[in-house]
Structure formats: C-alpha cells, structure tokens
Symmetry: C2
Subunit: 375 residues, 2 copies
C-alpha cells in the first residue's frame, strides 16, 4: 500500500495495467463471473490481490449506466420520530443488503410535494425499485415511476396502482377498541363511547381504524357521535389542542355551563374523561402532555389505547393498551414480492401489471405491558 491519498480514483484500467491484463478481464474477475469467462485462477487471484492493494472501489455509476441496473432500492418514509418507521427502515436496510441491493431512504415529512420531488430524485439516481411508505399519494408516485419503467410497492398506506402491504387496520383497531371499552367499564363502572384522536380523514389507515372503532362500539351496543372523532392530523401539538378543545366543549364551565354532549350529560363528572383511542404514538405524546398538565392521571386517567407501540409508553404507568404493527412480517411480504419479480424477469409480467395489483394485510400484534407500576 503505497498511496494514502490519490487525486484520481483507481479504475479497472489502472488495475489492468498493473496486472498486465485487459480491462474486461479485470471487470469479469471483479464481478465474480470469471468461471464463465474461463479466466485462469492465477490471473483472477492476481487481479483480486491488486484490487485490494489499491483499495479499489468500483464505480457503480459507470457500471449501472452500462448494465442498466443500479441495484439501488429506494424507500420514501414520512418521519423518523417514532419506533414504527424507525423499525421499518432498519429492517428494510438489513433485508436489502442481504440481497445485494443498496438501500437509500428519504424522509418526506408527510409533505405531498416533497414526496413526489423525492420520488423524481430517486428516479434520477436510477433506483431499480421504489417503496413508498406511508405516502400521502402513493398512486402519484407509482405513476411517475411507471413513466420510467421503475416498479413500486406501497407500504403502510395503500394505493390502487401498485401492490400494497399494510397492517390489518380494521381488525387491529376493532380489537384495540374492545379492550379499551372493557378497561373503561372496569374503571368507571359503565360503558361510554370513546374518543378517537389523531390521524387524517384522508388517509386509508385512519378510515379503516375508524371503521373498526365504530364496529367495536356497535358490538357493545354503543353509538358514537361524530363529535368524538378528532382526526386532527398526527402531530403532537394538534392532538393536544384537539383534545383540549373537545374537553372544553364537554365539561361544564363558567363560560359554557350547559354545553355538554347530550348523551354524556347523565354521566358526566368534572374529572372523568372519556376513554381514548389514540391513532399514533406521536399523537399520544400530545394527549399525554395535556392530560398530565391537567392532572388527569392516576385514578383520574381514563382508559386508553394507542395504535402503535413505544417502549416508554409501555412503562408510562398509564395502563395504555397498544397495538404493535408487525414490521418484520410486513417487510417479509415486501421482499417476497421483490424476490419473485426478480426471478421471473421476463417482459411478459410487468411489475405493476393491472391484474397483479394486490393488497396484503398483515395482522398487528396486541401488546399490553402496562400496569407495571404507578398503579
């Protein structure tokens, strides 16, 4: 190893010269298909040795320019501020690397325009695949990619133009709601409707969870009024404000002594909050912040549940039910699709062929580590 720094990167031509061979020989050896080219083992060894000595790094830009496949697999993700997406990204990277793919992730902060911007940029960098995770408009991404012949898959939030792998939101939410209703009954000795908080009306998952939420109520024989659906977005602040506003309309106060939701009137007690279904950990953050400030804690805390999991919430002492989405299973499904499409690499089956568009729903896992302390 003579050089520590060089102004110009080593190429296969440099290696070829050092090995006294041709660039194509070097290329073949370095790509591991020298048996096919029947290059002598001796030459192969020599080339490999020299490459290592020179600390050679192949130029993937050039290689994929020529071979028309980059081995880059892109993923778009909304946020890094919770365990769910963090886990998705970690699993995705690991599984991509196992397959010799190069994963690139980009975070679009739930910004629709950034999403399509990011997709276009990824196309420019010649991704072979694009996974749209939690995208606000997955179909737009699929369309853009289709123009360049790049296959896409949706994760977490479904689209109609590409196969989607998502949680079974309906069943998960229904089961979660039942558990909260049950806990609420235990706590308060009666069956009141819950409040649904967080998420967006416009997104499929929120709608499905809402459907499960309502169905669980129906099975308990409870009606849920529109006023109890607070789909205010995901941000913690929005959830905090939405809850505050809702409660202020609910509880009797100096400013509005009579302004109570009709069906709650007979039961209402100033310090008794309705049970809460929180649609994400980030919304939960706002909810808990508000409850803590107001002193709705300990005995005064209502039964609660959260669609998504966070380890500290499990320890929060709030006795909060959680649903953990099955990230490993979801990514297994994703890579099964990718693997199988790589196999049947004929032009007959277009990746996002109309007939092939499927929706795969993965059951989430119920969690209840609550009640660990602070009873």
């Amino acid at each position: 190893m003579t050089q520590v720094r060089q102004t110009k990167k080593t190429t296969i031509y440099d290696l070829a010269e050092l090995a006294g061979a041709s660039a194509s020989a070097v290329s073949a050896v370095l790509n591991g298909n020298w048996k096919k080219r029947r290059i002598s083992e001796k030459l192969a060894q020599k080339i490999i040795r020299i490459a290592e000595e020179q600390n050679y790094a192949p130029n993937k830009q050039a290689s994929s320019l020529r071979s028309n496949k980059s081995k880059i697999i892109g993923m778009i993700v909304p946020k890094y501020d919770n365990r769910y997406f963090g886990s998705i990204v970690e699993h995705f990277e690991a599984m991509a690397r196992e397959r010799g793919l190069f994963p690139i992730i980009t975070c679009t902060r739930r910004d629709p325009s950034l999403e399509i911007e990011a997709a276009k940029t990824m196309l420019s960098y010649q991704v072979d695949w694009l996974i749209a995770t939690g995208a606000t408009d997955p179909d737009k991404i699929t369309q853009i990619c289709a123009t360049s012949g790049v296959p896409t898959l949706n994760l977490d939030l479904p689209g109609t133009l590409a196969t989607s792998v998502i949680s079974d939101n309906y069943s998960g939410a229904k089961a979660l709601t039942s558990r909260i209703l049950h806990n609420n009954q235990q706590r308060q000795g009666r069956l009141d409707p819950l409040v649904f908080i967080g998420g967006r009306n416009s997104d499929h998952n929120t709608r499905e969870r809402l459907r499960g939420f309502c169905e669980a109520h129906r099975e308990y024989g409870i009606e849920v009024s529109e006023a109890r659906i607070l789909t205010c977005g995901y941000a913690a602040e929005k959830a905090e404000n939405a809850l505050r506003d809702f409660i202020s309309t609910l509880l009797p106060s100096a400013s509005n002594p009579n302004n109570m939701e009709p069906n709650l009137k007979p039961n209402i007690e100033p310090n008794l909050l309705p049970g809460l279904f929180v649609n994400s950990t980030i919304s939960l953050e706002g909810v808990i912040r508000w409850m803590s400030k107001q002193g709705y804690i300990g005995k005064k805390q209502p039964a609660m549940g959260c669609f998504d999991w966070d380890p500290f919430v499990a320890l929060l002492g709030h006795d909060i039910e959680m649903v953990k989405q099955d990230v490993p299973a979801m990514l297994n499904a994703i890579f099964e699709l990718i693997d199988s499409s790589a196999q049947g690499d004929n032009n007959l089956t277009e990746p996002n062929d109309k007939a092939q568009v499927r929706r795969i729903e993965i059951p989430p896992l119920p969690i209840n580590e609550g009640t660990l302390y602070c009873s």
Copy 2:
C-alpha cells in the same frame, strides 16, 4: 402526455429530437446555464416544456460519471431507535436538500464491520461527502474515503483524522450529574455517589461523560468507586442486566447477606436504590423496565438522569432529568464546514488536511419537564 409507460427511459437525445435541437442544447437548458451558452429564450422554453411533457428524469449516473461530481452526500448512522439519531437524520436530509445535495443514509447498527462495508459501498456510489455519525471507528472510515479522495466529517463521536462535531459531553454530563446528586439529596436526605449505566468504555463520549460524572462528584466531595461504573453497552437488555447484577451485589439477601459495597453499608436500606446516571435513552429503557418490575417506583424511585432526551420519558413521572443534545446546532456546524469547503474549491486546501482537523463541541441543552404527574 401520450405515454403512461415506456419500456425505455427518455434521454436528452429524445428531447433534442422532439425539440429540433441538439443534445448539448438540451443539456445546457436543463442545467440552467443557457444564459451562459446564450441559447435563445424561445428554444429554452420549448425544451423545458417538452421535458415536462415527457416527464423527463435526467440520468444522474451518467451526469455524474461525466462531470465527476455526484451531488450525493452520504451519512452513516448507528440506529434509528431513538429520537437523537432520528432528529439528526431528519435535519441532515432537510439541510442537504436545501443545498441541492442528495442525502443517502445508511444504518450500521453499531457493527464495526458493517460500518466500513457501508462506507465502501457509498464510495462505489460516488458520494461527494461522507458523514460518519456515531461511528465506532471514524478514522478507518476517513482513511478509506481519503483513498478515493472523498472528504469526510465525524458527527457525534469524534475521530482524529477528520473534523468532528460533537456534543460537549463533559460539561453536559457534569451539569446533569450535579442535578441528579442534588435531587438525590432532596429525596434521600444525604449525598451518595450515583451509578453510571450504559455506553461503552471504548467510546469517547462515554469516557467524557464519565469524566464529567466524576468531576461533579468531586465537587460534591464524594468518591466514586469503580464498581459503580456500569459501561455495559447501549442495548436496553444489557443495561437491565447490568443494573440487576449490580443491585444484587449491593443489597443484602439470603445468598449474600454481607456482600455490600463498603461505603454504602452505613446507609443502605433494602428499598433505597442509588441515584442513576443513564447514558442513553435506549439504556434507560432497560433501566426503567427493571425498576418497574422490582417496584422501585414512586417514592422508592431514586433520583435519575439521562444523557439524551425522549418525549415520553419527560412524561414518565419518574422525575428524570435529561440532557438534550443540540442537533440543529450540530448540523449547522456540519454544513458550515461543507459549504465553506465548496466555496474555496481550490486544490490547495485538502478537505481533511492535517492542519484543518478540528473538534467542534456543541453544548447540549438541559431539560426538565419531569414532575408533570404521578408525584
């Protein structure tokens, strides 16, 4: 827009043909330097229109192959399982995009071999810059990149061969330790040494925090024994086990009725734990899990502090002091370095010139949102 899908990607030659111009004109226009080439505004408009109509996506592989600059900026990150790194990545991406750079992140799970593997892969994809965040061996990465002439920067954990931007761990830890000692005194009515838990002896941050930890004790006139330094790694399980083992040697029990740390003996009470300095939120996860299981909660909970911040911990009711590392300031420092190097783009100042290697320490922010509920 006639085509929805095409088997072959559109190139500047296609656009050139459609525009009745040459490829080089198209290239110039699309790169925004058509004033320099004095191309007619009319032609420029036409080309831009056609490009949009065709949903043209430039091939960055080809472009950077030719121009020898990719505009790709890579970052290596250890984990996505905490707010600190999540925040780093989000800020990094946003700031990179502001500068027209393409950020690519890769997560190496604190695995040294994966780290250098990832660095090499990024080099193959022709990154213009590489930021090594929390790397176990930053200098190795700097060396590998230097071979290809790619400048690097260290973040979070420093190296000696490239400029590093890190938190002021010593001062942060010292202040945090003082606060915990103070709280402990309030709670237990006396001054006992704390236990330091989490992190690695081998990493600079842990050592510096330990130094601040000891110095704070010294200022309080307390001696810290070796036995109280539990640098067991970062994983939650490891912290949980280390704490369990430590306590079992500390407290009298059937199996070891006399096996107590000498200087604690006079004060010991079965249910009174020593105060805790926890070196990361992920270690804290294990610590709290164990404490909850054992019932060391509420009044029985010792004073605690955590180097790093998590919103749910703030709501945990454990009255846990936290230190929040100043991620925006850290990334400002990073991009200041990048920006200034891009400015003085002469060959005279090598990016990682020996004389230029600096260490920039950013003061972390103290946080105390504790005591919100569950008093």
